[in-house]
């Protein structure tokens, strides 16, 4: 009967964890194994690395702006393009979202709640419809140009450009940047800021040396929550990019639609590996940055 209490403790913990452990094994880990399995097999489920090699070796002719044609690696180009658009969107989200999160966190409790609510509301509207509405705003004869036209500004051509796709990504994933940063900032002890002031920091110094390092975990999860969906989106690029921006998400969906499940899985697998490794690295580096390493 010794150690019963400790046993009981770990038993409760085990009991509480049991459903989730089983669940995550079955529905998080096993599916990943399946992706890998499909990625490394052909349609008869024989082992092959062909799908993976195809990702890295398939080539296309790319016509440059000056009319010259050069041969490029199709999927590498697609991936880099997705990464570029997603990275720009993420940076914009961060630049716009960080001050917003700070403003909310410093507002009165009641205002905080209202603002957070307002930021969440658009997410309750279907994202397909929201994206659709942006088409109306951004097209050449759209709302935006009607408004700027009143002020005598030359019509802007936005729809179908990178700008439109980026606006769509920023819009759709913006709340995911604000919320995690806000929740970290709201918990921040005001005394710390006073202490920093006391120790001679000016306003910017407080931001740079105290607020920002402390909010870093929120920033990281914000970046994750914006970068990941925007790198893999296929709807926004279809609608706002006038179908001209073929991103990695479109490639996966395209292969799925074309019934090339194994190649779709291969693209997914490669994307997954890259993202998991990248995110793991980011986590590791921020842990070092924030806590000075262990």
């Amino acid at each position: 009967m010794r150690k019963t209490l400790q046993k009981q403790h770990s038993r409760t913990a085990g009991l509480a964890l049991a459903p989730y452990s089983v669940w995550s094994l079955l529905f998080i880990l096993v599916p990943l194994v399946f992706v890998a399995y499909y990625a490394f097999t052909d349609e008869n489920f024989r082992f092959t690395t062909e799908n993976i090699t195809r990702f890295f070796t398939a080539t296309s002719d790319l016509k440059g702006d000056d009319g010259t044609v050069r041969e490029v690696h199709t999927y590498i180009v697609i991936f880099m393009r997705s990464l570029k658009l997603a990275a720009i969107s993420t940076v914009i989200c961060l630049l716009l979202g960080y001050p917003m999160a700070y403003i909310i966190a410093r507002a009165k409790a009641r205002t905080q709640k209202t603002l957070v609510t307002l930021i969440m509301i658009p997410m309750w509207m279907n994202f397909l419809i929201r994206t659709y509405a942006w088409m109306t705003i951004l097209q050449d004869t759209g709302i935006l140009n009607s408004i700027t036209g009143v002020f005598g500004i030359k019509p802007l051509h936005i729809i179908g450009t990178e700008t439109a796709v980026i606006i769509g990504m920023v819009y759709d994933y913006f709340p995911y940047m604000i919320l995690p940063i806000y929740s970290i900032m709201a918990k921040m002890d005001l005394k710390l800021l006073e202490a920093a002031r006391d120790l001679g920091c000016n306003g910017f110094g407080v931001l740079r040396r105290v607020i920002f390092p402390l909010s870093l975990p929120g920033v990281i999860s914000g970046i994750t929550m914006v970068l990941i969906p925007s790198i893999s989106t296929f709807y926004i690029s279809q609608k706002l990019g006038n179908g001209k921006f073929f991103l990695i998400g479109d490639a996966i969906e395209g292969q799925y639609i074309a019934n090339n499940l194994h190649f779709a899985a291969a693209i997914a697998f490669i994307l997954m590996v890259i993202l998991l490794v990248a995110m793991g690295l980011v986590k590791y580096i921020t842990a070092k940055l924030v806590y000075g390493g262990e």
């Binding site: 770990s10 309750w124 499940l261």
Partner: protein
């Protein structure tokens, strides 16, 4: 707040709410357009309330979101508690990493990977349908769980651990101590987690797209399915309603909450019962929802017909039209004395439908694909021969539409609608002299005013008709030529479109585009004042037929045939032809005087009047199924085209 902060907040809010304002505005638009506002009207709200399928989809979306939230909140909270208690460091690290995966993995990968597993398991157990409500629920719970866990964990860490000891000390069992003390303490985290889970589940499209089956269509999937036709303004009305409902709920919640806090501060009311009550209510809600879902599904068991069709491709009762599905259910019950439930779900493209069916993920009783896809499915033994004894109305199908290449023996298909691709142009911008053939879409004068299909077969098709190439060639060189022609057109093209063509043509955003004949009229109805849309058929163009078939995964073939037969009877056939604006192969339709009058002379001419017999033109110009190697090659060419 400082003034600068106020201004900044205002700008951000303007950004966040701009599209919602647009939806709000256009939900009151009389015309079916999201770019041209004609006059104020409440008709889309009326339409929405009469649209059983959309309301069903809304209900489904809510049921799914609530169930997923309930399950993930309970399981996630328990999991967070467990993770918090774990003393072994490596175990905690492993669990944390695994929990991170659904957050780090893109939706599309989560969706595909889960679909692979579900289909595998379904095959293992020999189930006709491996994707259904439960797989959808599992998928949603899976991606909601991390958000709950990562909201609850920090609250547990912040909590003074002696609180639970104090409760035990005062007579609580560990379990009761958890409910009476731990739970109220971590409640804010749980609530935030639950709200996030609900929000994510409500808004999810990608994962649902891969894991949903035939029995349960959510709103996002329904909307995505509308990409062949256009997203109806009903959806804007719906968005507007959702907006105001959530706004009210949240404001009320804020208000009530603040009221409570004030009470707590001033009057110091007894607050003991509140958290316990909330937990009880929450638990009860879980039970009710789960029970409701279970009962709901059991009730549907008796007789179910699963129909899979293009989005917006059936008369569905909107704008006072004939509600085909509901009328069939009524008719069937009257005729056979048995209740039948039709699960009507939609797809966005032939390929989309094919992927679902060929993966064995879902079973359907009636599908309505296009000709070349029928040929492919027949080759792959995915279709069942029909018993025409059950389809006497087949006699109304004209001989022109029988014995076509995809079904030469008339065994597998019953034509539903047919059409021809034509060119639509804005006569106010385009010189009529330039119109008449495919060259218009390659005319440099109209640079950045031209639209092209955003699907490979049709886009290549246009180039091939223009060049006089065989659209069914298995010769790679032929496709290379078409690809080259498309690349030539590429700098002129404003946008690659499917349903986006409606808005772009109606508003004058673009001036030239090829699309299915009947859709021209939908665009004319909504065209802006300074837009004058005209239509013509080029010399060679695509003829297609969409036909009703029964796939091998069908679970009730006779019922499927009864449905097909019903679709051929006068009232539904006319209603569907009028609704879709496509030509009907059914004599009961095109010989019906009421129909002819309703459509008008111009429409009848365009839809039915092209010179020469249908069969002759069709045999020359229809798409056929191609060999997998050729399809793969086209796909590669298409990707090359798209990345440019």
């Amino acid at each position: 707040m400082k003034m600068s902060s106020k201004i900044y907040t205002g700008l951000i809010m303007a950004f966040l709410f701009a599209p919602i304002a647009i939806l709000l505005l256009f939900s009151f638009n009389d015309a079916k357009s999201l770019s041209v506002f004609s006059s104020f009207s409440l008709k889309w709200y009326k339409e929405l309330l009469n649209d059983r399928n959309t309301l069903e989809a809304v209900k489904n979306t809510l049921i799914l979101a609530l169930s997923a939230t309930a399950v993930s909140t309970v399981m996630g909270t328990a999991a967070a508690f467990g993770i918090h208690k774990i003393r072994k460091r490596w175990y905690r690290t492993v669990l944390n990493s695994v929990t991170n995966i659904p957050m780090i993995n893109p939706d599309i990968i989560t969706g595909i990977s889960m679909m692979l597993v579900f289909v595998f398991v379904g095959r293992l157990f020999g189930a006709a349908t491996s994707l259904n409500f439960w797989t959808l629920l599992i998928a949603h719970v899976t991606f909601c769980l991390p958000y709950v866990i990562f909201q609850v964990l920090p609250k547990l860490a912040q909590m003074d651990s002696s609180l639970t000891e104090a409760a035990q000390d005062l007579g609580c069992t560990p379990l009761r101590a958890f409910f009476k003390v731990t739970l109220p303490e971590i409640m804010p985290g749980i609530i935030t987690g639950a709200i996030m889970a609900f929000t994510l589940s409500l808004d999810d499209f990608v994962i649902s797209y891969f894991t949903s089956g035939n029995d349960f269509q959510t709103l996002p999937i329904r909307i995505y399915g509308m990409t062949k036709k256009t997203v109806t303004p009903k959806m804007y009305a719906l968005a507007t309603i959702i907006f105001f409902v959530t706004l009210t709920l949240l404001l009320v919640n804020n208000f009530v909450d603040n009221d409570d806090n004030r009470k707590l501060r001033n009057k110091n009311k007894n607050t003991n019962r509140k958290p316990a009550g909330a937990i009880m209510a929450g638990a009860l809600a879980v039970v009710v929802i789960v029970a409701g879902v279970v009962i709901g599904f059991n009730k549907q068991k008796p007789l179910v017909l699963n129909v899979y069709n293009w989005g917006e491709y059936i008369s569905d009762g909107s704008e006072d039209t004939f509600d085909t599905v509901r009328e069939f259910e009524k008719w069937y019950e009257k005729e056979y004395g048995r209740k039948v439930t039709v699960n009507y779900t939609t797809f966005a493209s032939n390929e989309d439908m094919y992927s679902k069916i060929s993966s064995g993920a879902v079973s359907y009783d009636v599908i309505i694909p296009s000709d070349y896809m029928i040929a492919r499915m027949k080759n792959e033994n995915l279709l069942l021969p029909l018993d025409f004894k059950n389809i006497p109305n087949y006699k109304y199908i004209d001989n022109e539409f029988r014995g076509l290449y995809y079904d030469p023996e008339n065994q597998y298909t019953v034509p539903y609608a047919y059409g021809i691709i034509g060119v639509i142009y804005n006569a106010n911008e385009v010189d009529k002299a330039d119109a008449g053939d495919w060259d218009l879409l390659w005319n440099e004068k109209y640079k950045n005013k031209i639209l092209q299909f955003n699907n490979s077969r049709d886009a290549f098709g246009m180039a091939m008709y223009k060049l006089g190439l065989d659209v069914n060639s298995e010769d790679k060189k032929v496709w290379d030529k078409a690809h080259k022609e498309l690349m030539k057109q590429r700098p002129l093209v404003y946008s690659l479109v499917m349903d986006e063509i409606y808005n772009m043509m109606e508003s004058g955003e673009a001036a030239i585009g090829a699309y299915y004949a009947g859709d021209y009229f939908t665009m004319v109805d909504a065209q802006a004042e300074d837009v004058d849309l005209e239509f013509y058929y080029p010399e060679r163009t695509n003829y297609y037929i969409d036909a009703m078939c029964v796939p091998t995964c069908c679970e009730n073939k006779e019922l499927a045939e009864i449905f097909i037969n019903y679709m051929l009877s006068e009232e539904p056939a006319i209603a569907n032809a009028e609704y879709t604006y496509y030509a009907s192969p059914n004599k009961l339709v095109y010989e019906n005087e009421g129909y002819i009058e309703e459509m008008g002379e111009k429409a009848m001419n365009i839809l039915y009047g092209k010179s020469g017999g249908f069969a002759e033109n069709y045999n020359k110009n229809a798409y056929h199924n191609l060999k997998p190697e050729t399809l793969d090659y086209i796909n590669t060419l298409w990707e090359t085209f798209k990345i440019n």
